[in-house]
């Protein structure tokens, strides 16, 4: 069956950070209104809504969308851990491609519990395998992956830290990020150690936030804008335990990237700007390799040499990524899509990459992973 082409018609973002006086509904409303305003979409024209969140009460999607209007459209809450809102966008994209709906809105929201969240991660990690290894807090997991990478490939602590230096420098150009502080390599490496080699400045912040994305067919998008951003490739999957080298696998990144590249008809060499799930800075190195941006094992030097800077060969996490923006779980995927949309439209202000035409997103959750490719 012929599939329809899918467009990203609007994006919106509520500032990430501690939002003590605001509920998920209020943050989601602001992000939603921004996405509607983006290309002057009337909420009455939205046909189906998804709400990505992980740790909110029943009814969060219903109440968040009700803030924008009560039109009776189906609202479904979607949870795939850190990949919840990008998974929602993939569901919408599949429904649009299949010709079932033609105007979908995704709102991702989260108010995170304060302090450490081992309970949250302990729930989702695998009891028969990961729990036995003590892998119930994420910095520990990334620490083991980083040490394995160093053992196999000689990756240095400086390489991992440099990813954080770059992330914070990019974040300093992003008023919607939780942090806008620039740090030197020494400051990152000498900061409080969380799980060797990961210091506190290499961790995504626990924060609140919201994002919104409006999708429709390319055909429909043409009624709103002459040059819509298109979603041209996507793939979704789930980690497979007990297979391959889990310490380096970053889940099914490689497999899903292959699928998305194939669907989009492009390769890693065509990507002009990317968003990678850097819940902890070493993640950027592992995934840059798996996505094909550099050869296996060379991610450390690749980042060290500046290839992923805003003016580098393949700019990664131009908005500061999870490390500087923070990680309100259900909102993160939508935040990544918003940044890539702004980059492709040339609307990213002081952090704008030259003239990007093709963009890639990798959003990883312990419950699943999504890879998407966008074009303008």
């Amino acid at each position: 069956m012929a599939k329809k082409e899918v467009a990203i018609l609007g994006v919106g973002l509520h500032k990430f950070g501690r939002q003590l006086g605001k509920s998920c509904e209020h943050m989601g409303r602001e992000a939603g209104l921004m996405a509607l305003k983006d290309n002057r979409v009337d909420f009455k024209d939205i046909q189906i809504g998804f709400c990505g969140h992980c740790n909110q009460p029943l009814g969060t999607g219903l109440h968040t969308f009700s803030e924008l209007g009560m039109t009776g459209i189906p609202i479904t809450n979607v949870e795939v851990a850190c990949a919840s809102s990008s998974r929602s966008v993939i569901l919408g994209a599949d429904l649009i491609a299949g010709g079932v709906y033609d105007m979908c809105m995704v709102i991702g929201v989260e108010k995170m519990p304060r302090g450490m969240v081992p309970g949250l991660v302990g729930d989702i990690s695998d009891a028969s395998y990961e729990h036995l290894l003590g892998l119930i807090v994420m910095p520990g997991t990334y620490s083991m992956m980083a040490n394995r990478h160093s053992y196999l490939y000689g990756t240095k602590h400086e390489h991992f830290a440099q990813a954080a230096v770059k992330a914070h420098r990019n974040g300093s150009l992003n008023p919607l990020a939780t942090y806008q502080e620039v740090y030197t390599l020494e400051e990152v490496m000498n900061a409080r150690m969380i799980a060797d080699p990961i210091t506190v400045y290499m961790c995504s912040a626990n924060c609140d936030g919201a994002s919104a994305v409006i999708l429709c067919s390319k055909e429909k998008a043409k009624q709103y804008t002459a040059k819509p951003v298109l979603l041209v490739g996507w793939a979704q999957g789930t980690p497979i335990y007990h297979q391959g080298d889990p310490a380096l696998s970053e889940g099914p990144t490689e497999l899903l990237a292959q699928k998305a590249y194939e669907m989009a008809g492009v390769g890693p060499e065509d990507i002009d700007v990317a968003q990678i799930h850097d819940a902890f800075s070493p993640g950027e190195i592992f995934s840059a390799e798996k996505l094909g941006f550099c050869p296996e094992g060379e991610g450390g030097p690749f980042i060290w040499e500046g290839n992923t800077e805003i003016n580098g060969k393949i700019p990664i996490n131009t908005d500061g990524g999870l490390v500087s923006c923070g990680h309100p779980i259900g909102a993160t995927g939508g935040r990544m899509i918003a940044e890539l949309t702004w980059q492709l439209r040339g609307q990213a202000g002081p952090r704008q990459v030259g003239n990007p035409k093709v963009a890639l997103l990798q959003n990883a959750g312990l419950g699943g992973m999504n890879v998407m490719i966008f074009k303008i």
Copy 2:
């Protein structure tokens, strides 16, 4: 775009009730294995999975499906309160109809908190409207709806109670129901009062359970069975507050039924067997009217006269419904689909309706509602 026809290829159900020694994952596994065995589907052929639940930790879907195999397919958790697993089936049906996937599995699971669940309902009900009226516990809400129905149409307490008498009698024929006790009208009416006119035997039990549904295209189903059950109409929506007569609206039942009837090319007069969301017995009366089984206001006498009995004009809740089966929230929609599938196949044993050809499901949640029509 031409849509593919959708078939229900397999259904499975874990006994509802207190399951103290079993996790969601274990119950979901049993329901899932039963659904796979139904038409000898290999789990390796499942392309996408959804897990409907409301009150379980992160990772429930991932871990439940992992019990059946780790094939890397996308697993997405879906929450729409009481309508979570039927909403998951609608998502699957839309993806199959659109030609995006061709073998989807839905598992609905829930272990309910013990005792009353006002916190759960308080979360999802509308703060600016329902909370002010004290509508944060469901029996109170149904009580007000029942009293309004009596005021407008003269519906008697006996009518509401008779729906429970019938539900328990049907449930006594269903070994997978929480309760298998038969009660007289007097016993139901004289039981402990919960919220006038609703006594304890007119309430769905708080219990644990799991259900599973496998969907694919009609074309594909023919490879497994000569006569598959088809899903020929479906509609999904969300309650609209501040509109119409909410005390009698049962959400958007009427509107969604119209859409589903139109899609299926049938009317209420064609329905041979139905599942209605009787979280409390009066619900069966309200919804029988809204679905067009009897005229507005005549639901009480309609049920009193035996029209919804197994041997009546339009048998409703042949398996005992929520009142006798119990209501493990995320599993309920799948339970309803399982019963209708067995009825259409003639596999419902002592509770089998004559020779049904067309079946209807209405699964209502505070977060949304689904109506589906099946044919064989």
